[in-house]
Amino acid sequence: MKNDLLTYLEKLKESGLDTDLEARLQKELVSSGKCHEPPNRDMPCDPALAVAGQSLYSSGDMLVLSQASKPYLYGTGLAKSLDELLERDRLREQDGFPRKIQVGKLIKPGRGRKGKIVVVPTTVEEKFFHDPTIRPPGEGGNSGGTGDEKEGEVIGEQPVREDDGQDGSGPGEGGGGNHEMESSAYDLGKTLSEKFQLPNLKDKGKKRSFTRYTYDLTDKNRGFGQVLDKKATLRKIVETNIALGNLPDVSEIDTSQFLISPHDKVYRVLSREKDYEPQAMLFFLRDYSGSMVGKVTDLVVSQHVMIYSWLLYQYGGQAETRFILHDTEAREVPDFYTYYNSRVAGGTQVSSAYKLVNEIVERENLTKDYNIYVFQGTDGDDWDESGSKALPELEKILTYASRVGVTIAEHGQGETTTVVRYLNSSGLLKKMPELLRMDVMQKDADETRLIEGIKKLIS
């Protein structure tokens, strides 16, 4: 595969390629062939090393001596005070102080389809502290230990989890997915849930929803019930009285002669109706090529986490999601976990991802039953300079998709990136603003910027 890429690069060179770009491509090429596997969390962890990073101050008598367990914070207890705390936070802003409460752990991506939302308010007590992460070279990261080994001997290993970000093989995002987000993200989630829905949602292939019901006064019942249906009741009364012979002359009705049987009263009763909902299919596309190292991947993934968690929140099981990763080739991954954690390496062909979307849609005939949304995240690099491969595929997507949202996290090297360039020059953005949205941000964008981005993409 590496050779294929080399020949492709040669071809590109022949057709003229500026040196800067060539260097970038070469760099990506070096990393191609490295594996994209998410860091292996199942690697057994040496229990002796479990406390390696622990500080002197982290052990307390209660837990160590009495072997008590740490009191567990219940989500429900927290949720109750959450609105109160957020209200306090809002007041802070009003009083001219920066907000302080963060809503953390919006989503815990698990293996399989187990996306779990846990909302925990957290805050930091900011003080002047020495920064323990800044150390003179050769110092720090050290700990104490006991044992018989000689100096220099290795005593144990631990799989790399967080804080790595080494060139070429950094995971998209570290940690178990405890993604801290500003409270505004929560606010946004709420607002989005209240105000926004997926754009351009059409009634397609409605399937019966098993989770949602509407309650309506549609059923009728004779004798008792919630609301008297006057018209139906009157009709029944008339029927009964005709049968009884109380209504000899139709032109002259004496209603006072009517007999009213309790059984004639017709009531409407509240009943549970199964609801029908439109189906939505969301494609998440992420560039995991070598150039996506560091912050840019962070941004893209963060934004997709937000969209994904909002979807989970808002649409429950209704919105279905597919995850596609691409470098020069695209592949579909089964769950958000893999999508979220796969490491970056290799070259870039945006078209491959578009193509895969088209293939999937065609193969499974999704257009018939689903509203299709595509969210794509990239740093804007593409080996396909002119977009000659990507654009036709994208146009094809636009024929059936309800919205395509492209997020571009630029490295900030000054020039406009390839993808931005060919998207702009194609005129697609202007031609169908309802269907195609693009959001370009710099790599130092913060959470608020990400949220702005989401608004732009789905509003």
Binding site: P39, S58, L65, P71, V124, E126, S143, E151, E180
Partner: protein
Amino acid sequence: MELINQHTKRIMEGCKERARLAGLSFTDESLEYIVTNRDLLELSPKVMIPTLYDYWVHDVEVLRERGKYELYPNNPYETVINTRPPISFYNDNNPDWLNVMIFYHVLGHIDFFQNNLYFRHTWDYDFTGQALSDKRVIAKLRAEKGRWVDYVIEFARSIDNLVDFHGELADLFTPPEADCSARLNYYFDVFLQAEKKIPVSEYIKEVNRYNDCKKAYGELGEKTFFAEAERRYPELEAHFARTAGTHPAPKKDLLRYLLDKSEFLAKDENIWMRSILEIVRKTSIFFQPQIRTKILNEGWASYWHEALFLQDDRIKGHEVDFARVHAGVTSMPRVGMNPYALGMRLFEHVGEQADKGRISFEFQRLKNASERNQFDNDTGAGKNFIFKVRENLSDYLFLKNYLDQDFIDKHKLFVAGKRLDKQRMVWQYYVKSRKAQDYQQMIQDTLYHPPVISVDEKRCFDGNLYLMHKFEGKQLVQEYIANTMVGIEYLWGAPVHLETSEAHMLPATATSANTDEAPEGEITWKRVIYSMNGKVLSRSEI
């Protein structure tokens, strides 16, 4: 929360008797409570002080991010608090033998609280009582001022780690006879040094002359001394008169400085804020010694729970249970730090060394290894000595003085390094060094050490406040600077400047990238000034 039952209390009283016989000393009364999971939830944010003032941050989980304990080195799950009487907390389902062990541990802590001199300022009052009245003050203020009370608490807490704890202690230990007249202080501290700038030899001569005068003339010594001094410096009296009243103030911490000097806080409508600052400062100073004696305190308690438990005749038959729990608490981890284990072993080591008379110049002077090994004067002074250590030292001094190569070798300690194996994407832990010096350094690095930030009055112009961060090879957590300074500016009522140092990492050189160490760049330091003016932070390099 409820008190332990009579049966268990009787066990505790038995423990007290035995502990006293062994030499521990503590007040007679103590309170023991059973706590439930729910109690613990409420207590832990308040550092186990049930009467601590309410503050909304206690309702929110404080961010458990990287280095949490390095930044907030207060473990909320302690069993015993330093009050009068001391209060300790227990699970309700502990068997008696385990309670005995925990009781001894708790008594070790109580003895430590009541005898270690770093706790001297906490001896004369009951903190829970104090905290309760503070809590009421704050509750009353909150009823009047609403959420602004919480802002003031927040801002005061944001600098509560900059309290001058040692200065506070120094006042308690200055003997009355060390006080001398203002004139004498001025002459030696300011006049000779700052104004005349006389050389050290001259200065010492003057000191000697003063001592001679004192010896020869007694009461009249000072007068005689100054008669001569005035002859030599006729301007002395005039200078002294001019500085009268502006005697250089003792070094103050930022919170105290704000309390005394802030014009904003002195305004009638803001005067209530002062009581909050006082409360926050007092609370912080109360907890300071606890953070600075973690290893010592846990080591001392572990040392005694082991010694006393094994001698206790009441719980025969539970030696194996005890051994299991005790080992869990005090075994040296393969990699990592355990204050219980380290402190306990160091106390044992110090006791043994003192017993053999090795804590002496005579022993230190020895170079010959076998002579060192055999050195034993059999002084039997070990027990006395560890009581001295418990009385006089903090973690820093304890480690600095007694963690030596003999100790490292005996317990096979080493500094464990961590490096990245890029091929396999694993962190490798390896033995980095077995030198006592390196071990010392490693452990000193992890000890609690708040930045030293003081007010530089010489640079405070136009009512601005100028803070100077003393450079100790560390930079401040940058993302916290802005909000902390917002708080100081609010309390000061005018712009605030902070002079500090910042690290700039140079990218790792090619050679270092090829070694197996995780690539680390060189650090260069720059002095910068952060200015907070109208809640807007600006930064400039010097």
